[in-house]
Amino acid sequence: MNDLPSMSGEQALVARAKAGDRVAYEALVRHNADRLYAVVLRFSATESDAEEATQEAFLRAWRSIGRFRGDARFFTWLYRIGVNEAKRILDRRASADVVISTEDRPVDHVADDAPQVDVQAEAAELRALLEQAIRRLPDKYRAAVVLRDIEGLSTAGAAEVLGLREAAFKSRLHRGRMALRAAVAHYLMDDDELPLEARGPELS
């Protein structure tokens, strides 16, 4: 994944793009495409839907970059467009009842065919369970967990992307994480960690 340009580097590219410089906008695409795709994927049914949403978001952003005020980071603005595009595609799927072809890999498919030792298999299983649980979270909680815990944005950065004050963001993150934990609790607790009253009788 490309590192994001510095704020000043990004501002310069945005200023040039606003003036119609397509080369500058293409640089913004290269810097932000992987990251936007990764986030949008969490709001999409399939990888190709996520790719389409990413493309649409950049097209829309290019056409309306004159309206970008520049008081937030470019990615923040792009993120909102991208997630809206992903939801629009999901809605289109739902209303048309589009069948996902077997060649169009559903997002929650976890490919892991390599032989695994137990620890690796357990880690892969936990990741798969978390993937499923994340997809079942309400959008607002999912967005908080995706940005902060998966994509690694700071609390302040993720709050800015979602247009929330930090306190409100933290509240959503808290609820999202607790819901996730509840969904995979049976898997996360091994016998040593279970509350005493939940353990079976001790062997002598």
């Binding site: 290269r30 990764a38 994927l41 990888e47 790719e51 097209l59 978390l130 998966i150």
Partner: protein, 81 residues
């Protein structure tokens, strides 16, 4: 405050602040309060351990970028932009 009441109050505090504790956002004195309580409370130990494991696993879910994502965007921009 009796020992039992203190334990109940600390139990509620630990549950409410477990995530802040794991994120390193609790002041030192409150961290020590959480740790002291967890050392005598199996439920809170389990809560902290499971949340920690979950939070440590989540970054591993980051999507592997498709090499074609940026190329696909640029191609559409050139065609339709």
């Amino acid at each position: 405050m009796s020992g039992v009441v203190r334990q109940m109050v600390d139990h509620r505090f630990t549950k409410a602040h477990a995530l802040e504790y794991l994120d390193g956002e609790l002041p030192q004195a409150e961290c020590e309060r959480v740790e002291r309580h967890a050392s005598v409370c199996p439920k809170c130990r389990a809560l902290l351990a499971s949340l920690r494991r979950m939070i440590e696993t989540l970054p591993g879910l980051a999507a592997q970028p498709r090499p074609s994502v940026a190329d696909g965007v640029l191609e559409r921009l050139r065609r339709e932009g």
